[in-house]
Subunit: 194 residues, 2 copies
C-alpha cells in the first residue's frame, strides 16, 4: 500500500471500531483502505466464544463508561446498544462489496451510527437495506450480491488474512506495514503517513 | 481523595505501568496517590495463570513493538526485558512502605528503570537493596519491614481493594472516583483534576 494511505481493519459490532470509523469517515483528506472483517473467528482462536467485554465483566463495565467518555471527547453521538455484540456478518459482507466504491465511507458511518447511536439491529437485512436505500443505492441487488457464494468466500479469505497479519482486536490500522491497535493509536497511525 | 489528586494503581512487572509511573514521577507538580498492587491475583480471577501478553502471543508480540514506539514517544529509555513478567512481589511490598514517604516516586522510577531499561531482576532482594541504597535509604531495615507479617497482610488487603474497585489491568488511575485504564488514559485523567 502507498505510505500515504491508512488501512483500517474494523468490525461493525466493535465499539472502539465505531469511534475510529466515524473519525476516518469524516476526514475527507485521508485515503482509507477499508478492511471490514469479523472478530469472531479471531476470538475463537483464543478459545473465546464471545467478546472479551462480555466474558470479562469488569472490563466490559469499564468499556461502556469509557465509550460514553470517548464519544464525548471526539464529538460523536452515543447510545449503549441494547444488544452487544450485534451480528455484523451481513454488514461486513455488504461492506466487502463497497470497499472500492465511493459510497463505502458513508455506508460504514451510517451502519455504525445505526448500531451505536440509533440502537438498531444491524444484523437484520431490513436495517441494512434501509441504510443502502438512504444513500441512493439498489438495496435488493447489493444484498443479493452480498449473500452470493463468491462474496461469502471473500469474507472467509478476509478472516484468513486477518489471522496471517496477526490481528487480535479491532480497530487495527496499518500504515506502511506498521501495525497500530485500537482507536487510541489512530492519531499516531495518521501521523505516520508520508 | 481530593479532586486535585490522582491515584495511580500499578504493578512493577507491567510494561505500560512503567510508562505511566515514569511520566508521573517526572511531573513534580502533580500529587500522586501511589497504589502498588499485584496483577497476578486479578488475572487469576479470570482463570489466567500468566499475563495476557504471554497467553495471547499475537497481542504480546504487538505489545513489545508498541512499547518501543511508546517509549520513543514519551522520551523514555527502553530495553525489552529478558524475563517477562518479572516477579514484582518484593518491590510491591517495599513500595507499600514508601507510599507516604518522600522517596516513593524515586523508588518507583528506579525500580521500573531497573526492569525496563537495565534488564535487572527486580524480584531479587539484592536488586531492590541496591536501589534503596542508591537513594540513601537503609536497605536492610526496609527489606526486613517489607517482609514482616503486617506488611504482607497489607499487600493482601491491597489486592482485595483492587478487586472491590473492579480493576482488571494496570496502570489504572482514579480521579475523584472516576476510573481510567491504561497509560493511554493518563492525560485524560490528569486533565480531569480540579
Amino acid at each position: 500500500m502507498p505510505a500515504s494511505e491508512i488501512a483500517c481493519w474494523f468490525d461493525f459490532a466493535s465499539t472502539y471500531s465505531y469511534v475510529s470509523v466515524l473519525r476516518l469517515a469524516r476526514q475527507r483528506d485521508v485515503i482509507v483502505q477499508w478492511k471490514p472483517f469479523l472478530l469472531g473467528p479471531i476470538f475463537k482462536e483464543q478459545g473465546w466464544d464471545n467478546s472479551p467485554f462480555v466474558l470479562q465483566k469488569d472490563k466490559g463495565d469499564y468499556m461502556w463508561m469509557d465509550m460514553a467518555r470517548e464519544c464525548a471527547k471526539y464529538g460523536l453521538p452515543w447510545r449503549q446498544p441494547s444488544e452487544f455484540p450485534r451480528r455484523s456478518l451481513l454488514a461486513a459482507r455488504v461492506a466487502l462489496l463497497g470497499e472500492h466504491q465511493p459510497w463505502m465511507a458513508e455506508f460504514c458511518a451510517r451502519t455504525m451510527l445505526a448500531n451505536f447511536e440509533h440502537d438498531e439491529d444491524i444484523g437484520s437485512s431490513d436495517c441494512i437495506a434501509a441504510i443502502l436505500t438512504s444513500i441512493g443505492l439498489d438495496a435488493a441487488t447489493l444484498l443479493a450480491a452480498a449473500q452470493s457464494d463468491d462474496n461469502k468466500a471473500r469474507l472467509r479469505a478476509r478472516s484468513e488474512e486477518a489471522k496471517s497479519r496477526h490481528l487480535f482486536g479491532a480497530p487495527t490500522f496499518f500504515v506502511d506495514n506498521e501495525m497500530y491497535w485500537g482507536n487510541d493509536r489512530l492519531s499516531d497511525a495518521l501521523a505516520k503517513r508520508r
